[in-house]
């Protein structure tokens, strides 16, 4: 079981220090947030990446990569709003702050011993399959993209 308590104390302190720094930076910027947002409105139009428009090319690319369906203009508009929302992260000044790896980065990675404890449940697994041939899952041909 992973637990923060068993993580090396040096790492724990590091993470806390970083967290404090980030919160302080954020608090300072709070006052400037509205001003920054106003400024962004101007600069983003000059920058095509931040123009707020997602091109048809990008939509096609995303649909192929992630197998999602941006079927309507409404869906694309929602995507653009989501990107704009995430863009507000840039408002935080992170100069000199080391990025976190993940929110779990201070936890211990549990190491399992090399024993066979699972498997032998082909029947159960195959129940989920739409089509089965002799204990194999069946997929359409040339399934690669």
């Amino acid at each position: 079981m992973s637990s923060l308590l068993s993580a090396p104390s040096a790492l724990r302190e590091d993470a806390l220090r970083r967290l404090k720094r980030e919160m302080w930076a954020r608090a300072v910027k709070l006052g400037l947030r509205s001003w920054v947002g106003w400024r962004r409105g101007f600069t983003s139009k000059a920058d095509p990446q931040r123009s707020g428009r997602v091109t048809a090319e990008v939509i096609e690319h995303l649909e192929r990569l992630a197998l999602v369906d941006f079927g309507s203009l409404e869906a694309v508009a929602r995507l653009e709003k989501a990107i704009a929302f995430a863009d507000r992260l840039r408002a935080v000044d992170t100069d000199g702050v080391e990025p976190m790896e993940s929110v779990l980065e201070d936890r211990c990675l549990y190491l399992r011993s090399d024993n066979v404890v699972e498997g032998n449940c082909a029947e159960e697994l195959l129940q989920n399959a739409h089509r089965v041939v002799e204990e194999y899952f069946v997929a359409p041909p040339g399934v690669n993209d």
Binding site: S2, P8, H61, L65, A66, L67, E101, S102, L104, E105, D106, R107, C108, L109, Y110, L111, R112, S113, D114, N115, V116, V117, E118, G119, N120, C121, A122, L125, L126, N128, R131, V133, E134, E135, Y136, F137, V138, A139, P140, P141, G142, V143, N144, D145
Partner: protein, 512 residues
């Protein structure tokens, strides 16, 4: 006037279109061998008289090929990298699959300690720097044998980086002319294997077996320091021997435990590197060199004819002996790498940094592993040379042939004959015999004890060397040789022995 042949030859790091005089007394030229132009290597230009041809157009005809390799080795472990299902080669389809391997919702990866140790051992054996902190990422792509839609790998920060692998290549026609080369190791990372797809063309479907899905892989990335198929094949062979000596992978290419992808490009020396192609699924030692050399020649040919090289993925068709484009080209794959959110960073320790009172099962000490590394092939060869006074190239042959070293050592144990004699017999006569009969060492009808006995007789001068060779002949099933040997035994026993009895005894001994 002898016929002139135009052939591409690998000359050190250069590929040269050479005009080889087919009837010259110097032989067939250097299409096979390499000359080393390095400061350390021998200058064997004298053995390979190539007359460089001036091309009519462009004038510049020297090409340099650049070959990099990505090698995937299946980790030898009981269970998979992130789940507790078994790792085994042949088993009923989908019987070695856990819920996590099938990517059922609600399952999480749990790292296998043995796989981490295997990665550290391999990194240390290849002179890498072991990263005390390494990270896991997701590499996304869709394929039926990848149920999760992503592979867990280590793209940002792998477990080991910046190592080196030394291998040897022949630089002349004589077996003694070998030169040592080094290839840099960019990184070693832990990643999951995918399942297997069996394409059923007639019924227009693909059958998926997930037994292999989730098995731990070591990806070893070799920098593009190699320049032809032979160098690549030697490097791969040496890596195979190292992995087998460590026990981290059985590295058997036939069983898919070692897979190689090659990145190949050509350019004029002094100019920037050319566009590279990737040749995937080189799964046989035999075709590895062939495929790479073909691709180099193909690229040179395309460029010489004014065409461009596409940055594409190709596969090698061993029946046709050529590479073919693999995937439909629609731009580079975007794998959308992201940190694996379910796995914290992997932390490794050494004796100095080991946290006091830590659970030994939960920490890995790099120093502890380093102290217990098995003997590597390079060291084994060194010992053979010192202990038995054999030549370096002999030590290479002994290690390169599967099971031959063990055979040799067993013969040495049981025989009184001189080690040099044993070496000569094992490498020349015994190995030659196996090759002729197309047998592996473990299929040999001649046991180490039998050969030891034969050599003892030879040593005692009880039989002559030609008689001993005839015994080997008999193993080939040569009836005349049997009769000859009967004759010799009769002579040795001063005609006192009964020929039928001799025959019986011999046949019994030979069939054992």
């Amino acid at each position: 006037m002898a016929a002139l042949m135009l052939r591409w030859s690998c000359l050190g790091k250069r590929w040269v279109l050479a005009c080889i005089d087919g009837g010259s007394r110097h032989g067939r030229g250097a299409a096979i061998g390499l000359t080393s132009r390095r400061k350390r290597g021998q200058s064997s230009v004298a053995q390979q008289p190539l007359i460089a041809v001036q091309k009519s157009r462009k004038g510049e005809h020297e090409w340099a090929a650049v070959v990099g390799l990505e090698i995937h080795a299946q980790i030898s472990s009981n269970s998979k990298l992130f789940s507790g299902s078994q790792v085994h080669f042949a088993a009923p389809p989908n019987s070695l699959v856990s819920f996590f391997d099938a990517s059922l919702p609600g399952t999480l990866p749990v790292l296998n300690r043995r796989c981490v140790e295997a990665a550290v051992m391999t990194g240390l054996a290849l002179n890498c720097r072991i990263n005390k902190k390494s990270l896991f990422d997701r590499k996304h792509y869709f394929y039926a044998d990848l149920p999760a839609g992503y592979q867990i790998t280590q793209q940002r920060l792998p477990i080991a980086v910046n190592g080196s692998l030394a291998y040897s290549v022949s630089v002349g026609k004589k077996p003694s002319q070998v030169s040592t080369r080094t290839v840099r190791i960019k990184q070693i990372q832990l990643e999951q294997d995918s399942g297997k797809s069996l394409h059923d063309e007639p019924r227009s479907q693909t059958l998926i077996d997930l037994n292999r899905a989730g098995v731990g892989l070591l990806e070893v990335v070799l920098e593009p320091d190699m320049s032809c198929g032979e160098e690549a094949a030697s490097a791969v062979r040496e890596l195979q021997l190292i992995l087998q000596a460590l026990g981290t992978s059985q590295a058997n290419m036939a069983e898919g435990q070692l897979r190689v992808d090659a990145n190949i490009s050509v350019h004029h020396p002094g100019e920037p590197l050319g566009v590279r192609t990737e040749v995937k699924n080189l799964n046989s030692a035999r075709f590895l060199a062939k495929a790479i050399d073909f691709e180099i020649k193909r690229q040179i040919h395309e460029l010489e004819n004014g065409r461009k090289i596409l940055n594409e993925t190709r596969s090698f068709d061993d029946k046709l002996g050529c590479t073919m484009p693999m995937r439909d080209k629609e731009g580079k794959q975007d794998y959308r790498f992201m940190p694996e959110p379910n796995l914290p960073p992997l932390l490794l320790y050494d004796t100095a940094s080991l946290p006091p009172g830590a659970d030994p099962q939960q920490v890995i000490n790099i120093d502890w592993i380093r102290e217990r590394l098995p003997e590597l092939p390079g060291k084994t060869r060194e010992k053979l040379i010192q202990q038995y006074g054999m030549l370096p190239e002999h030590s290479f042959t002994l290690l390169n042939e599967v099971g031959l070293l063990e055979f040799f050592q067993n013969v040495i144990k049981e025989t009184r004959a001189e080690p040099k004699k044993v070496t000569s017999w094992v490498l020349n006569i015994f190995l030659g015999f196996l090759k002729q009969q197309n047998l592996a060492v473990n299929e040999s009808p001649v046991t180490p004890s039998a050969l030891a006995e034969l050599l003892n007789l030879l040593d005692r001068k009880a039989i002559s060397s030609s008689a001993a060779r005839q015994v080997m002949d008999m193993k080939r099933g040569n009836p005349r040789a049997i009769n000859k040997l009967i004759g010799l035994v009769r002579k040795a026993t001063l005609s006192r022995a009964d020929p039928t009895v001799i025959k019986e005894i011999l046949e019994r001994k030979l069939s054992s």
